[in-house]
């Protein structure tokens, strides 16, 4: 019962102080909104870029064209061997017949090409398609394929397709996303730090206004948490308000962007995916924002009140 009374009083005093310090709180909340909005944007952008890269990566594969003389056993051996390589996700076989029907399907509208191919029998080589796990590290696959006994199986005229041109572009994208992620993390850290400083300041001003009261409370035997609690409640409230505001802002940005741009993507930024991701993960993102806001608020108020609550230790 005593604990309940105390808990209730801490909450009540915290809410009361929040209302009293409303204008002081605006600054703290505003900077927290900025912080949390950046956090949110970083998360959504990160997910979107990862998705884009994953999509492009899926399209990267290596095709090894085989000589017509390669036996079934040689081909199976080669495929089994490839499967043991650490960077190989999947190996599939495209037979001559498959290649032909694929070619026919691809060129269904081009009668002369179709005709040319039916006159010469089936000139298309069979191939083995390799899907790498990590497209930036296909070097080991390449060197395996270049080993003489493997090279001997390959059609010298067709060469090996590495989707090389695409790979260079993908490397650039990956690099850019890496930098974006780092910039995101750094700016989140900087703004989190600034918002903590401003909350410190807000709480310290509130403490300064009430320092006589705090001294008296201390002398009358109030515990540390009885005095500190209301300040923590107050700043946790900043965090909650800021989290809700940042979610609302980002939501509004997506709604406006979707209707104003009339496009599903801006260069690399796939807005449709980002929007979708945001709404699918809404509750988790909201939870995360609340958690970050509450954490920043609680942490900074605990630190801000520390030195006012210390007992004299000097002798």
């Amino acid at each position: 019962m005593k604990r309940f009374n105390t808990f209730r009083r801490i909450i009540r005093t915290g809410l009361l102080n929040f209302v009293r310090n409303a204008w002081l709180a605006v600054a703290a909340i505003a900077v927290m909104v900025v912080t949390l909005t950046i956090v949110l944007f970083s998360i959504v952008a990160n997910a979107t870029f990862s998705n884009t890269i994953a999509q492009i990566n899926d399209k990267i594969n290596i095709s090894v064209y085989l000589k017509d003389t390669v036996t079934e056993k040689q081909r199976v051996d080669l495929m089994n061997h490839l499967k043991t390589l650490p960077n190989v996700k999947d190996v599939s076989y495209v037979s001559k017949t498959d290649a032909l029907s694929q070619y026919r399907a691809d060129n269904a509208n081009n009668q002369s090409l179709l005709q040319a191919i039916s006159e010469t029998g089936n000139p298309l080589p069979a191939s083995v398609r390799i899907d790498p796990v990590d497209t930036s590290k296909i070097q080991d696959i390449k060197s395996f394929l270049d080993e003489p006994q493997n090279k001997a199986l390959q059609d010298p005229q067709a060469g090996t397709s590495y989707s090389g041109d695409r790979k260079a572009a993908i490397d650039k994208i990956t690099h850019a996303t890496d930098i974006l992620q780092r910039v995101g993390v750094a700016s989140v850290a900087v703004f989190a730090f600034i918002s903590m400083l401003i909350i410190f300041n807000t709480i310290q001003m509130a403490i300064f206004n009430r320092r006589d009261e705090l001294t008296i409370m201390r002398l009358l035997g109030a515990t540390t948490w009885y005095i500190r609690g209301p300040f923590v409640v107050e700043s946790v409230l900043y965090g909650i308000i800021a989290a809700l505001a940042s979610i609302a802002i980002v939501d509004a940005v997506f709604i406006t962007a979707a209707s104003a741009l009339q496009a599903s993507s801006l260069g690399l930024l796939d807005i449709a995916y980002a929007n979708n991701y945001f709404h699918q993960e809404f509750w988790r993102l909201l939870g995360l924002q609340l958690a970050v806001g509450v954490l920043i608020g609680a942490l900074s108020s605990v630190i801000a009140t520390r030195r006012y609550l210390k007992f004299k230790t000097s002798k």
Binding site: I216, G221, A222
Partner: protein, 227 residues
């Protein structure tokens, strides 16, 4: 109830506030501490409430050895000691009732019990009917009695009053002293510091005189004349 053994407090090298003070106060005693300004009286009281730590020496109050007292237990200690401060230390934006209730809120008492307890204590200090007044609307003596009400509302075993009559005219000063005697009569150990010669002479209690941070005399039934 209160035991000090060779307690010394040095603020800096030049000034020694207390110099090897030894005291023993029995439960339910009424002790007056006299001494000029700067003699070390207030330092003594601040050591008892653990606002200060002694430079050396031992303090034991109500069985609590201050050397072994952890920071987190200081609030619990202070709840057992009622203190009336020289400058009252009332909360200016709370009325009389709220100021007294404040001491009970801190220890987690329920609102109903607070509403029941506070008027009884205000009655003891003769402040019935002033519940709604703000501190600035009260006279010095009334404020002092609010401070006393706040100090005794938790029924402490020890009441420390630091010059509670310092700013009062004789009539109000006696009102305050009567309240302290009443509380002592109910079983609380009272430690009172004062400058007021007349009060010392008429109370006829144990008087401890402090001079230059030392106990100059410690007599029962003392009066100012035979210090």
């Amino acid at each position: 109830m209160i035991l000090l053994d060779r307690v010394t407090k040095v603020y800096n090298r030049k000034s020694t506030a207390l110099d090897r003070i030894s005291l023993h106060v029995e439960p339910k005693e009424f002790v007056i501490v006299v001494g000029q300004s700067g003699s070390g009286k207030t330092t003594l009281l601040r050591l008892l409430t653990r606002e200060e730590k002694p430079t050396s020496g031992k303090i034991v109050i109500g069985g609590v050895d201050y050397d072994k007292l952890k920071d987190k237990d200081i609030p619990l200690l202070r709840r057992k000691i009622g203190v009336v401060f020289q400058d009252f230390k009332l909360l200016p934006n709370k009325n009389v009732f709220e100021n007294v209730a404040f001491a009970l809120e801190i220890v987690g008492m329920g609102n109903r019990e607070i509403r029941h307890t506070v008027p009884r204590v205000l009655d003891i200090v003769n402040l019935k009917g002033k519940e709604k007044n703000m501190p600035f609307e009260l006279s010095g003596g009334e404020r002092q009695r609010v401070a006393i009400a706040r100090a005794i509302v938790r029924q402490p075993k020890i009441l420390i009053a630091d010059e509670p009559t310092g700013n009062l005219d004789p009539k109000h000063a006696w009102d305050v002293i009567r309240v302290l005697e009443k509380i002592n009569h109910y079983g609380t150990t009272v430690l009172l510091t004062t400058h007021n010669q007349e009060i010392v002479n008429r109370l006829k209690r144990r008087v401890i005189t402090i001079e230059g941070g030392r106990v100059a005399s410690d007599r029962a039934n003392a009066s100012y004349g035979n210090l």
